[in-house]
Symmetry: C2
Subunit: 226 residues, 2 copies
């Protein structure tokens, strides 16, 4: 995702993006220990930028790095994944509340338009997987930025989402949820449109809580191995 201002795209940024998507997509398996030189040859990079990228990834919690012992992709347990959702619940609730106060009318219109496109997307191609992978985060993305809370958006978009995405990528289709989720999104958007911050917060928290329970159930049923 290219930021609006056309900054110089340095090798370190490239390395960072490469590794990040590789981790999210699972090309670098969790728990896998891997050396720097191997990473260099695999991603056609030199060690300088790579190391800088590794440092950034480490401070974001996507990998751990022990001196003289290589880097290792973090492996998140089922409980930790649930904890991630609990954090999301409170933080996105806050984001929704602030967004209700601060989003412009245009942004709210865009939000509704986004949901319309999601609806057709789901119907057309039964594109449940796509909806989960991209569309869902599109919605949450807009609310995070709409909160006008720089640090909150940064933490949500920069830290949490990549982590959650990493574990959502493999389960992709979660059966009935997309339709449910869309309805929940709609209601949140309505609350924001009515500038009802409290309601928006409540609905958002319930929405994420439902998603968490859905995953929890699947894990317990053994449909989903972590």
């Amino acid at each position: 995702m290219a930021e609006a201002l056309a900054q110089t795209y340095t090798r370190a940024d490239e390395a960072f993006d490469c590794l990040q998507t590789a981790i999210v997509k699972g090309d670098l398996a969790p728990g896998e220990k891997i050396g720097e030189v191997e990473l260099c040859s695999r991603f056609q990079l030199t060690r300088g930028p790579l190391r800088e990228a590794l440092g950034r990834l480490e401070s974001r919690g996507l990998l751990v790095r022990r001196p003289h012992a290589g880097v290792k992709v973090v492996s998140v347990s089922a409980e930790e994944l649930m904890e991630l959702y609990r954090i999301r619940e409170t933080m996105e609730g806050l984001a929704a509340r602030q967004a209700a106060d601060r989003m412009t009318d245009e942004e709210i219109a865009d939000l509704h338009a986004t949901l319309d496109s999601h609806e057709t997307m789901i119907e057309q191609a039964q594109g449940q997987a796509y909806y989960q992978a991209e569309g869902d985060y599109d919605f949450h993305h807009r609310i995070a930025t709409g909160s006008r809370n720089t640090k909150l958006a940064q933490m949500l978009l920069g830290d949490l989402y990549y982590m959650v995405r990493m574990y959502r990528y493999r389960l992709s289709t979660s059966s009935g949820r997309p339709h449910m989720a869309l309805g929940e999104h709609r209601r949140i958007a309505e609350a924001i449109a009515q500038r009802d911050g409290e309601l928006a917060e409540f609905l958002m928290k319930r929405h994420i809580n439902a998603a968490r329970q859905n995953i929890e159930k699947k894990i317990q049923e053994g449909e989903l191995t972590i």
Copy 2:
């Protein structure tokens, strides 16, 4: 703060700590633009480790770095500082709730002991400044780790606190608050001891909200310039 396991303390870590404390203490003024070579000579470092530290600091949001244009310490506006407190409110509320369920009895005993030492500290030397700068965070630190929520603790301790500390450092003494704050801490600790998560969450949110309002008032009265 030396972590339990005696890891090799690399130059990059050193650079990171140096710069971090320099930013927090205000030796590197917010908004100040500064070159890499000057930073090297000032902190007796070489550019390699320095750059790695800069990358980490950047992803933590303590400084911004435009390619070929130098690094700049972030300058947080009064509103942004308030937003930080709003984030803390929800996140630490969650931490307190989880801590009430998950802290061991020993940890709770330690928590009370910590508060006792804070009390004597405040009385003895009228050490309000010290209490604010270190002691307060000691308490919050314990609750964050007591939540047993790795990511939550990481975000609180790694990202938010340094940012808040940076702006708390200069106001240091906030008159009557230390005694008030201690009382609030006490009540939170009691709620945790009684394993009353809901109450702990409520009290923690109110505690941080009070701190926020206190700062907000000072800013409006012109006692505090940001």
